[in-house]
Symmetry: none
Subunit: 248 residues, 2 copies
C-alpha cells in the first residue's frame, strides 16, 4: 500500500518495554508512532483526533482502557481503536466491542497479527486520510485556504457557496441529498429550508458556468446533487462490474 503521508499510530501501554517494542516494530512498518503511558494522558492525546489508529491497553493507571475508549466516543472522536488485554475473558471482549472498539487482541499476541490488524483498520479508513485538497478535474478546492479555482483561475465564492461546494466535492461520486446538505452546511437547527439549498446550488452553477465549468454539479432528480466529472464516472464505474461492463 502507498501512503502519501505516513499513518499515525497512538500506542497506549503502562509498561515501557511494551511501548518501546511496539514503537520500534511499527516504525519499521512505515508508521509514525506516538506513545502514552497512562489513561488520562492517553485520553488527552487521543482527543486531538490526529491519529489513524489507537492501540489501547485495558489495564492502565488513572483511567482504564474502557473508560478512555468510552470518553473518546462520547467526545465524538471516531478514530479506530484496537483494544489490547491480558485477560482472555469473553465478556470483556464483548464489552469493549460494544463500547465502540474496532478490534481486540489478547496478550500475548503475535506481532504479525498485530500489524495485520492495524493495517486492516488503516486500509478501511484510507479514503479519509489526508484530504486537504479536493480535486475534480480542473476544479480544485483548497480546504486549508478555503479557496476554489478552475483550471488555475481563482473562483470567488461566498462562505455559504464555498461550504456547499466543499461538501459536494468531498463526497464526489456520491449523491448528496438536500437534507444532508442542510444538516452539514446549515447545522442541525435547520434554520433554512430546502429551497435555500437549491438557491445556493444555483449560485454555484452560475459562477462555475462562467468559468466554463458546467456539469460539475449535477442534479439527480428526487435524490439530490452529485459532484463528478466524466473521468470520475469512468473510474468508479469500472470498479467491480463482473463482465467488463461500462457506464455511460
Amino acid at each position: 500500500m502507498l501512503w502519501d503521508v505516513r499513518p499515525r499510530v497512538l500506542v497506549v501501554d503502562d509498561e515501557i518495554g511494551v511501548r518501546r517494542a511496539l514503537k520500534r516494530g511499527l516504525s519499521a512498518e512505515g508508521m509514525e508512532v506516538v506513545t502514552a503511558a497512562d489513561g488520562p494522558n492517553a485520553l488527552r492525546v487521543a482527543l486531538t483526533g490526529a491519529f489513524d489508529v489507537v492501540l489501547l491497553d485495558i489495564m492502565l493507571p488513572g483511567l482504564s482502557g474502557y473508560r478512555v475508549l468510552q470518553r473518546m466516543r462520547a467526545e465524538g472522536v471516531r478514530t479506530p481503536v484496537l483494544m489490547v488485554s491480558a485477560k482472555d475473558g469473553e465478556v470483556d471482549q464483548a464489552d469493549g466491542l460494544d463500547l465502540g472498539a474496532d478490534g481486540y487482541l489478547v496478550k500475548p499476541f503475535s506481532f504479525v497479527v498485530l500489524v495485520a490488524q492495524v493495517r486492516a483498520l488503516l486500509r478501511r479508513n484510507s479514503a479519509d486520510l489526508a484530504r486537504r485538497r479536493l480535486k475534480l478535474g480542473e476544479l480544485v478546492v483548497d480546504r486549508a485556504l478555503r479557496e476554489v479555482s478552475w483550471a488555475g483561475e481563482p473562483v470567488s465564492l461566498s462562505p455559504r457557496e464555498y461550504a456547499v461546494l466543499d461538501v459536494l466535492a468531498s463526497r464526489a461520486g456520491s449523491v448528496v441529498t438536500k437534507d444532508e446538505l442542510l444538516r452539514t452546511v446549515w447545522g442541525d437547527e435547520q434554520a433554512a429550508t430546502r429551497n435555500a439549498v437549491e438557491v445556493y446550488v444555483g449560485y454555484l452553477r452560475r459562477k462555475l458556468d462562467a468559468m466554463g465549468a458546467g456539469e460539475v454539479v449535477r442534479t439527480v432528480r428526487g435524490h439530490g446533487y452529485l459532484a463528478s466529472t466524466p473521468d470520475l464516472d469512468a473510474a468508479l464505474g469500472a470498479a467491480g462490474t463482473s463482465a467488463g461492463t461500462r457506464r455511460r
Copy 2:
C-alpha cells in the same frame, strides 16, 4: 441500536448444524440470516452485495474461505467479512486480515463474542452503506450514484421506481411483502395503498423488460415480490435455506 431495516447477515459454513445454530441465534438478535454451504455458492450470493456482514468459515468445499474473500474484494464488494477458523495459526489470521477481512474468530468461539463482533461491524459500516453496489446478474444498482444499469446500459428510473428496486435488490433472494415495501419506500405514514406498490412494480418491469431484463422481479402470489436470478436461486436452494420463500 435502532435499525430502520433489519441487518442482513450471510452465514457460510459447511456443517448444517453450525448454520442452523447461527441462524437461530442471530435471528433472535433481530437479524435476517441467509446461509450458504460451500465456496462457489457463498461467492455467488455474496457478490450480490446485499448483505451487511458475511460470516465466513475458512474450510469450505469447492472454494476456501480465503478464495471467496479474495474474489469478493477483487470484484469490488466491500461487505465486512468476519472470518471463522478452526485453526488457531497466527499466520492464517494475518493472511485473512491482509486479504481484506474485518475480523477473525477462532473456533470454538462464544456466541456472545460473535454477536459483539458482528454488531461492531454493523455499527462501523453503517456510514459506508451508501457506497455499496447491488448486483443481480447483469443488473447493477449503484447506490452512490442512484443509478441502475443492465448489462452496462443505464436504465432511467424515477425516484420512486428506484427506491422500490433498491429495496428489492437489497433483499435479493428473499420475498418482500407489499406492506414492507410500503413501510420502507413510502414511509410509516403509509400514505399510499398496496395497489401503488403493484403499479410501481409494473413500471419497473416494463422498463427492465425493455432492456431484456425480464424475470428479475418475480411475483410470489399471496406473499409479495422476489428479486433473484437463476444463479442465486440455485445457490440458495443448495444450502437448504428456505430464505423466507416458504414462510407460512
